[in-house]
């Protein structure tokens, strides 16, 4: 079913889908975000049955269905890089001028790596296992970007 391109009377209307929106963070998310914002603490939740500490936190363990909402664990602001990519294309949803580095960082005290921005490092110097620490933002956005980025521990 292949047709020749017919572009007679073909007009393109420029539009935009934009919707200001108030997202409720959830009770667990609210505790995480406010601890990050007010105390510069990164919180995870422990599943005792699965013996695992999750970050970002969640209310229920997806493996054993245990209720985790009271099982808060304060994680260290340090950890190690387990994976990374250098984002080199430019796009409006990207929070940084490219190239910038996204890394999966296993925080001390957590079992699941957290994705975040890695900065203050040369790309060629990044190695799996590299020790890093959180650098907190001066201004809050009430999102994960209350950590501005992670940087190598000198």
């Amino acid at each position: 079913m292949q047709k020749a391109v017919d572009s007679a009377d073909a007009y393109v209307i420029e539009g935009k889908l934009a919707l200001p929106y108030s997202y409720f963070a959830g009770r667990v998310g609210s505790t995480f975000i406010t601890a990050l914002r007010d105390s510069k603490q990164i919180l995870g939740v422990r599943c005792d049955k699965c013996n695992k500490v999750f970050v970002p936190p969640r209310q229920t363990c997806e493996r054993c269905m245990a209720d985790l909402r009271e099982n808060w664990v304060q994680l260290e602001n340090t950890g190690e890089v387990v994976n990374f990519t250098v984002v080199r294309y430019s796009d409006k949803h990207l929070p940084r001028k490219t190239p910038y580095i996204l890394a999966m960082i296993k925080l001390d005290g957590a079992d699941t790596p957290l994705v975040h921005i890695l900065d203050e490092v040369k790309i060629e110097d990044i190695k799996p296992g590299m020790r890093v620490e959180a650098v907190f933002s001066e201004k809050t956005t009430s999102t994960i970007l209350d950590i501005d980025h992670f940087k190598p521990i000198a």
């Binding site: 994976n83 990519t85 984002v87 994960i144």
Partner: protein, 381 residues
Amino acid sequence: MSRRVAVCATAQIKNEPDIWYQRFQGMLFDCFESIVSQTGVTFDMEKGIRNVVTCSDDVFDARTISDNGLTDVVGAHFRGEEKTAQDGINGIGYAMASILSGHDDIILLIGHCKESQPESRHMCTNLAFDPFYCRPLGLDFLNASAFQARAYMEKSGITEEHLARVVVRSRQMAAKNPYARKNKMVTEQEVMKSPMLSDPIRELHAYPLTDWAAGMLLCCEERAHEFTDNPVFVTGFGSCMDSYFLGDRDLTDNFALKKAASRAYQMAGVQNPKDAFDMVELNDSYAYQLPMWAEGAGLVEEGEGRRWIENGGMEANHVNTSGGMLNGNPVMLGGLARALEAVHQLRGEAGDRQVEGAKKALAHGTTGPAGQHHAVLILEK
């Protein structure tokens, strides 16, 4: 399984980089008219199509309830219409369930996606992530896959050379497929020198931006003869969703694909997937995914993806004769495209790329970042 579901017809437009001159409604209508003229199917409420399954994405169409922009052109008014906002291959599983349950005899499945219309497809897939933990970081399907690519390449020993072979072959196969996106032939050197997008994924490792629409008529076995002399049967389907957070997953363990495949294999009675299929279509949005999915689907032993490429496994297993998603299908429709190619092959209608005597095929689709959701479909002649 007491009843079987038949694929009676398929229709598609050509995969193109920018169909700016046609609305998605027009793209779908071309597919719709083709299916009606091939089969003579009607919309009679006793004997015809009483239910239509559509596949589309709200963000790519920049309107919510994206199906309400198209129901009129696919015959879905005054009857059942249900939308899947996952890869269209899941619509085949859904159609199968509707027919096997006895709820419907006939299902029209039809889907579209125009990646060319949003300012950036990566802005669209960024919106697949939650607004607190992931979206603000700029995560999208490309950079999320880059984590998986690095982890898999490390684990498997797959190198730039292997990926280049996958890309070069994809374009060679696609050149024989009249519906495939028309792309420049590339050499392995060109692939290895193409600009890095998100390390280790290079520009030529990523499927190119594509617009497409396709459809399929499915029917219970007893009535398939009303619509075709050349039916193909759905004999297995399975799907599985992995965890949401990338850090919760082992990005290289193929957990969801293994689960999806084992469910489909159990249903179809497949004992040994290594030699069960005459051809296989895997949904490779990025080059590293072809050997990784081949491992996950059990076509090769775990960890053998590298040797599989080196030893001509892609050719021996007749993998992605269509060119694969890597040559260009839009997100949401990669798996449906794989299923259409499998149907073409089993019907003996694959032209210059025909696998002689193909009787049994596997088609695979993914939805979400770095293969979060997998679906596996078994089709038989």
